[in-house]
Amino acid sequence: MGKNVLLVDDSSTMRKIIGRSLRQAGIEFDNIFEAGDGLEALAILEKEKVDIVLSDINMPNMDGISFLREKSNRDNMKDIPVLMISTETGDDIIGEAKSLGAVGSIKKPFTPDKVNEVLGPLL
């Protein structure tokens, strides 16, 4: 059975770029779900089978840190890994994301090779 990924970013452009980078990196998913913020992401995780989440941090309505916090409180999704893809690189913010369960981070801008290097071992 194939794997499914959820892309969480308020920029539709960035969601398309991440999807393209996954294909260029040779990483295939059966389904690519998309959410524009943490609230939409939680709603998708409630009803779809998702194997890994790639999430931005700075987003409207519910940002990536709040999304991680809320997700960690829900038994049906707390074990789904989340990889942060963000312009945020500060140790405090990335450290907080990891303390809430993020398994790694990729800095924007990124290359398909970087996506493969970080995401590949997680699949």
Binding site: S11, T13, E88, T89, G90, I93, K107
Partner: protein, 151 residues
Amino acid sequence: MEIKEKIIDAAIEIFSTMVMMDVSVSEEGVNDSGRLQDTITGLIGLAGTHKGVLAIHIPHPVALAITSNFLGIDISEINEDVEDAVGELANMLGGNVKTVLTENGRDIDLSLPSTISGSSYHFQPSKDVEKVVVRFETAHGPFLIELQLEK
């Protein structure tokens, strides 16, 4: 690293890795963005220990070419895709500038990106600021990146 150099390095990296477009710093120096004609501006605010705004001013034809490259499809009019792409460019540039101004990421907050588009406007969000303006060239025309920090 001087902030102007960081802006230049960040822009070249963003355009080469994400937009698939070569950009270079113009030999034509500029000190002000002046009156912007048929342009779209992507901007992101900085708050905290450094307050200001980072903006990228892109003439409409150049913005169409950038968005077409960004998305891999032909874009022929200024629409939501162009606004989103230009906003995301501002977001990535703002994130890079933030890394120069702060060590831990917590003492400066970035706003969500927004855009302005019009046939003729002047960009002056604050009066008492230090300005860095860099003009870049592409095969489709020039664009400007402007950082204004409150003194």
